[in-house]
Symmetry: C2
Subunit: 363 residues, 2 copies
């Protein structure tokens, strides 16, 4: 079997994002717009920088120790949370601006923007272990929007290679056609293909992605075995059966080649646990879970003691369940690109490694 | 109390070099010349790249999981050991060429050289958590040598600030005068002042040092309480008493201001344990221990199984003793520069942190 070579920064970074077993058990607390809306709903007033910073600090302080890595935003999150993230937990920093630029068909398509005054270079200098880019994506969107999104993904990939730091690309499809509504049979039915299309696209070597963070390739609420209202009491017309959903996950694994993790996309924890369990036994390498993990703590805001108490009990319990659900996840070094730990090797290992390894200067 | 600000890369790096308690329990396996000589003594033949790489790999694999951070050289050590260093263990990479350039008075003085084709920039890109420079130093040396050594220390300090990565400066005095012999009453008597002089020099802010790695400021073999041959059976004329030695350590703490750790300089483990215990209760923040920890394993070379077995038993036992001996060490955030964890703060923390934090471009 031939050795698979990996550069020093990418190797160290991937090991740090994963746990000792090579599985990604990651937490996301890089929400900005969506967290603001959650806080506003509870407090009924305008949300300040302090509101966001306080909640993010507590979530990092209490829950990040359970994670193999934590994803934070550089605006509200990292400045305050920096010293509370344990050294043994990997640090992922986001590079995109929150939200999107409405574009294309009826202004219903989405263009990602990079956060101004920030970037891969600063993420690397700050000592993070990985870069995360959130990309809204519809392969069947307007060519102009599709090209824009692909170009951003490519640019960040090149920057990550240059700075030698892992690239976690998060991709999220969205409804934009006339007949599409997020909670609809039509969209649920279309979901697997939307995910396959973007995974196939961004698995191409030109994007230099190290870990794909993608949606569950189905809507479990429309899966026959759960369609009787298992998660929210609402009965729905089934769009597929569980065995088909498992095949969808296997197809993602086949297309991705690089390790992939699933994102929680705001679903409830019970639904996400099912998704993690199914994805893990069908080839995923873990999860990167945000709101499903901690969202209930916001209900207690601004009572910070109560927020903390919920995180220490309910939040921690969610994390324990997520570990159990992802037990069968594939260690990243066992995925198609790496083919096993014994195979893993530093690029150019040998007496001249340090001479050949390049710095930032020779782009 | 005023906040102490620290940059993102330095904060993350220091947290990673220390353990959860803020203490440095570090292992050094960056030996090149001295390890080569040890292997040659055992095998009686010329030492190859493979010899060094094999032993280093085993030491990293078995002992680094016990360390808060491991110091490795980029030539023989890191290329092979990279994937065996656990993600939760900090990575320190050395930047100097092994040995020194004989210079000055009777060619008995020492000039440090940086390893060609390597440097702080590459250390940062490779994903390490800190840079280590070994500096031979006599404050009373020839002006030309003294200036050369200070200039190198200053350059590396500037590079570390630029790349935002912790700077661990290791300083070692050496005998070079007519009346000096390493194992002599005269040199033992002179030792405290030699250490004070270099600590006072390199504690100056212009060197931008984050952690000082220094010698124990006395020769315990010449300390009254141990001078009856406690470590090697050789009786010696006492040069000082234990209470004085404790004062020497406190003086190092006072002069250093930044956290300091002691190095093992090839002494036996029993002697080093005493040194760590004394230094820890007098203000040191831990140790960076090399040969004292693992040197006996070399005796079994080239029987790799026996080497590994010794490391798993004797080596691990040494590490456990070192933890106990350093129980009173001062967490780095409680040293003079930081004044307590609550005080620690990201430089420029706030909504504009990510904009103000600079990348590598604007030197």
């Amino acid at each position: 079997m031939s050795r698979v070579e990996i550069s020093a920064g990418k190797l160290r970074g991937l090991l740090r994002l994963a746990d000792d077993e090579g599985r990604f058990r990651m937490m996301a607390i890089d929400q900005r717009g969506s967290l603001k809306r959650m806080i506003k709903k509870v407090t009924g007033r305008d949300v300040t920088y302090e509101d966001l910073a306080q909640i993010k600090k507590l979530i990092v302080k209490v829950l990040s120790p359970y994670s193999s890595a934590t994803l934070i935003d550089p605006g509200y999150g990292y400045p305050i949370a920096a010293k509370y993230l344990p050294a043994e937990v990997g640090l992922l920093l986001a590079v995109e601006e929150t939200g999107y630029l409405a574009s294309g068909t009826g202004e219903k398509e989405r263009k990602t923007r990079l956060l101004e005054g920030w970037g891969v270079e600063k993420v690397k200098r700050a000592g993070a272990d990985g870069v995360k880019l959130l990309l809204y994506y519809r392969h069947d969107g307007s060519p102009e929007v599709v090209e824009h999104q692909q170009a951003i993904a490519r640019t960040v990939g090149e920057e990550c290679a240059y700075y030698d730091i892992p690239y976690v690309l998060e991709i999220v499809a969205y409804p934009f056609r006339e007949d599409e509504d997020k909670d609809s049979f039509a969209y649920a039915k279309r979901k697997p293909k939307l995910v396959f299309d973007y995974v196939a696209e961004f698995a191409k070597p030109e994007y230099k992605v190290d870990v794909l963070k993608v949606e569950f390739p189905a809507d479990l609420k429309y899966c026959k075995e759960y369609a009787d209202g298992a998660f929210d009491g609402v009965k729905r017309e089934p769009a597929y059966e569980l065995t088909e959903v498992e095949d969808f996950c296997r197809e993602v694994t086949r297309l991705a080649k690089v390790p992939w993790v699933i994102l929680s996309a705001g679903v409830g924890i019970e639904e996400f646990l099912e998704e993690v369990e199914i994805a893990s036994r069908c080839g995923a390498s873990g999860f990167l879970c945000g709101r499903a993990l901690w969202k209930y703590c916001v209900d207690f805001y601004p009572d910070l003691d109560a927020v903390e108490q919920w995180l220490e009990t309910g939040g921690a319990e969610n994390f324990r369940k997520l570990y159990a659900a992802s037990e069968a996840a594939i260690p990243f070094w066992d995925t198609d690109v790496f083919k096993g730990f014994p195979n893993l090797m530093l690029q150019g290992a040998g007496p001249d490694w340090y001479k050949d390894y390049h710095g930032f200067g020779d782009r």
